[in-house]
């Protein structure tokens, strides 16, 4: 199994600013992903974080808004850029190990 931690756990930000969320896995994982979850709703995949190369984004998400890094097999960051109140959500990091997907606790972001 894999244990995934995220920092910060929550933040309140002003519109127009950016926030970087960190994701750390306690063991090497094959793949890492970032999701967004609106309160009371299901998860939406933002992108696949690729080690040492550009992330692969899902439809509706772009690199300029959600730049992602993955410098090694256990760490990734997601930046929410030029934030607006519509970006208020829970952002979750996920990693895959032995074909099983594990999730972090999420980062609750509120944009004022």
């Amino acid at each position: 199994s894999a244990v995934i931690s995220q920092k910060p756990s929550r933040d309140i930000c002003q519109r127009g600013t950016s926030l970087t969320i960190q994701c750390q896995v306690d063991s090497q994982v094959t793949m890492m992903f970032w999701y967004r979850q609106q309160p009371g709703q299901s998860l939406t995949l933002i992108a696949t974080a690729n080690q040492g190369s550009e992330a692969t984004y899902e439809s509706g998400f772009v690199i300029d808004k959600f730049p992602i890094s993955r410098p090694n097999l256990t760490f990734s960051t997601l930046t929410v850029s030029n934030m607006s109140p519509e970006d208020s959500s829970i952002y979750l990091c996920s990693g895959t190990s032995t074909d099983t997907q594990y999730f972090g606790p999420g980062t609750r972001l509120t944009v004022l």
Partner: protein, 111 residues
């Protein structure tokens, strides 16, 4: 990617067995079926995964009929702490993470 359909909500009482069924008519040959549990303010937690027939672990059983077009998560003797949202996902193990999360089933266990 196979689409899944689950009941939006279910109610149960403590000590009962709960069965949540998921339909996945377009499941592909190399797709696995995975169930997750999510509590408020937490990330989804892996419960069980299977390909066919029956899989059992310490917390649940997963029943998959021969045609694999549906699956049933069985939670024995639920308690109040089993109140959560349960998601059924279908996808290839090599494509893990690309599986689409459906709406999930909100299970409410009552005393």
């Amino acid at each position: 990617l196979a689409k899944t359909t689950q009941p939006i909500s279910m109610d149960s009482y403590e000590g009962q067995e709960v069965n949540i069924t998921c339909s996945h008519n377009n499941i592909a040959t190399n797709d696995y079926i995975t169930w997750y549990q999510q509590f408020p303010s937490q990330g989804p937690r892996f419960i069980i995964q299977g390909y066919k027939t029956k899989v059992t672990n310490e917390v649940a059983s997963l029943f998959i009929p021969a045609d694999r077009k549906s699956s049933t998560l069985s939670l024995p003797r639920v308690s109040l702490s089993d109140t959560a949202v349960y998601y059924c996902l279908v996808g290839a193990s090599t494509n893990a993470g690309k599986s689409t999360f459906g709406d999930g089933t909100t299970l409410t266990v009552k005393p």
